[in-house]
Symmetry: C2
Subunit: 372 residues, 2 copies
């Protein structure tokens, strides 16, 4: 773990670069808004911790009513439990025997759920739990349009539900119904269609389970991009939004409606960088490159200079092309809104929380690099 | 720091996923080959540690004759020195006062060099060293065609050399002449032209310095992509290759000559991943996504399945599109050659070294996340 880029009480200008900075007022508004929206819709919130990877942020979400968190990896779940989170759903498939043993052991420390989409892997999970004398809540992941993981028909879901119910150490907990690619569809109509299609698949699956007398406790899914559609569907009991707390430049490209872009949440999250070389006629160089900003969702936006482009041209450098009259000073610090918050946060050990121009929080990104 | 994905003595198949795996026989052949090439050319080798971020790998390079390492960041340099490396050149500009103070302090622990390309920043470096009663070797970075950092004319280099020589706590150490974008030019002719152009700029700069009675101790630069050209030029005294030790899929796209691709070095470095979902008709899903493999230089290659494409479709998933008859088994483990080794290694806390089917080394990636 690297040392923090700031100390509590410092001014924003004193924060070392590159650094992750969260505006705490905006962040708290985002958390409050989500809590209100989900509560008004009569649903539960289980935010995805894969975004922030920080038990401190998870605690802030739980304080506002979240029932627990989601994780993608057993290593992430272990770190959330160590950080005091007592209800974690692993929204992903795990197949390796060594990892399944860790899942089984973690059930002794907190309320753990996990997803399956395969009969063999379900049996292996039951074996692992049985060896550890552990019991676990198991959700069936259903493919609701993302065409990645999940069972691909209600009939397969029924077979798997029967297998879970007949397994000594598994408890059937419901359905995982998350449509990842729908989150980033650009128009509200496209997202609405995707959510409606996903809801159809949930209905058909629940109907078949119901006809076999199998009760479906919880249907969980949804995300920041589709939230304003998800909350109108009775099919989801629990929502898994993650990015809403911080936000990123990619979500800002979603159309909220005919007139507005965004998701209804505000950018709270920035990468701070410094200008380190200004010798080229039309290029200035800053100190955040490919190891400081994930490049999968395009370039970051420069706060206050939205017409310019920040390109991660190499591992440790970013370049800004400027016109002849517009210049940046050597040593000038900039705030960037990154394309994709999740993999960017995963590059850092610390998140610096600021309010009224001062550093107020230093959150360790404890699950940074929790890949397994 | 996350726990290691393997233990010494395990079989390759027992390594947890995702994991970075280095084939030690190939790695050592790469180190030996580089040592021989550079030695035969009468040059020194100062490998770039930004690639591996591991003092253990740096030690292996130094054992074979390397004079020290290069780093890009003061935090990286601090970690190399802590790891026992006693000669580090920071091949980059540093402008923040807090960082310059750290640079000055590090000179008390090891032989440290640094680059400058600006008079104001040079004065600030001298002030920082003066405050700490520290003395430092300073190289002038010259722009040899990359058009990023560096001074852009011999006259500017001369002015800066005079300033360094008149500064109380700085010692003029020579020229940093690295052409980053030349490394990835695809044909040998393009790379040869770029290196020849860079050598011209070095010659002109040295001539002007010489005419002013300024001796240029060392010219340092070069990389894995241009190595076979760099070694034929008297202009470089010291070479900074990094990727050669491990190699990646992007360098494999360079044409070595009319008949062959590559750089003359072998792939020693892999990301190990497991197939975790197989329900889609033409897609299988593996557990290495955007947080396990840097995506800036394209998709990884799948060892043994070079005709297939591995796409990092989301943060924790990779998808392989397969034809109807070709399948992967759930739980099957694959080796991937990643597009770009540097930012991929920066995602992991451990490198697993294997030989004869067994885990022999566990190297901590101590400077992972050393961004400042």
């Amino acid at each position: 773990m690297q040392r923090p880029p700031a100390e509590i009480g410092m001014t924003i200008d004193e924060i070392d670069t590159p650094a992750l900075v969260v505006d705490l007022d905006i962040y708290e508004r985002n958390l409050d808004k989500m809590a209100m929206l989900v509560n008004n819709a009569g649903k539960k919130l289980r935010p995805h911790a894969k975004m922030h990877k920080s038990p401190a942020v998870a605690q802030d979400q739980i304080k506002r009513g979240a029932v627990g968190v989601c994780c993608q990896k057993i290593s992430e779940a272990e770190i959330m439990v160590e950080g005091g989170i007592d209800d974690v759903l692993i929204t992903n498939e795990i197949v390796s025997p060594e990892k399944l043993a860790r899942v089984a052991r973690l059930t002794k420390k907190a309320k753990i759920g996990i997803c399956v989409d395969d009969a063999g892997a379900t049996r292996a999970l039951n074996d692992a739990c049985s060896r550890e004398d552990a019991y676990i809540r198991v959700l069936i992941e259903i493919d609701v349009g993302g065409h990645r993981c999940g069972v691909t028909s209600p009939a397969e879901a029924l077979e798997l539900a029967k297998l879970i119910k007949s397994s000594s150490n598994l408890k059937f907990g419901g359905l995982q119904a998350y449509h990842g690619s729908a989150q980033h569809k650009r128009t509200a109509l496209e997202r609405s269609d995707a959510v409606s299609g996903a809801a159809d698949i949930i209905r058909k699956t629940k109907k078949l389970l119901d006809a076999s007398g199998i009760d479906c406790d919880i249907v969980t899914g949804g995300g920041t991009g589709t939230l304003l559609h998800d909350i109108n569907y009775v099919e989801w009991d629990e929502l898994q939004c993650g990015s809403y707390a911080f936000m990123d430049a990619d979500y800002a490209k979603n159309k909220l409606n005919d007139d507005q872009f965004g998701t209804g949440f505000e950018h709270a999250f920035f990468v701070r960088t410094v200008i380190m070389s200004v010798n080229q006629p039309e290029i200035v160089v800053a100190d955040a490159g490919l190891k400081a900003i994930a490049s999968d969702s395009g370039n970051p936006t420069i706060v206050g200079h939205e017409h310019l482009t920040y390109r991660m041209t190499s591992d440790e450098h970013g370049c800004i092309t400027v016109s002849g009259k517009e210049r940046f000073e050597l040593g000038e610090k900039l705030m960037l809104i990154t394309g994709h918050c999740d993999p960017t946060i995963n590059l850092y050990d610390w998140i610096v929380g600021v309010r009224n121009g001062k550093v107020e929080k230093l959150w360790p990104v404890s699950a940074r690099g929790a890949l397994s």
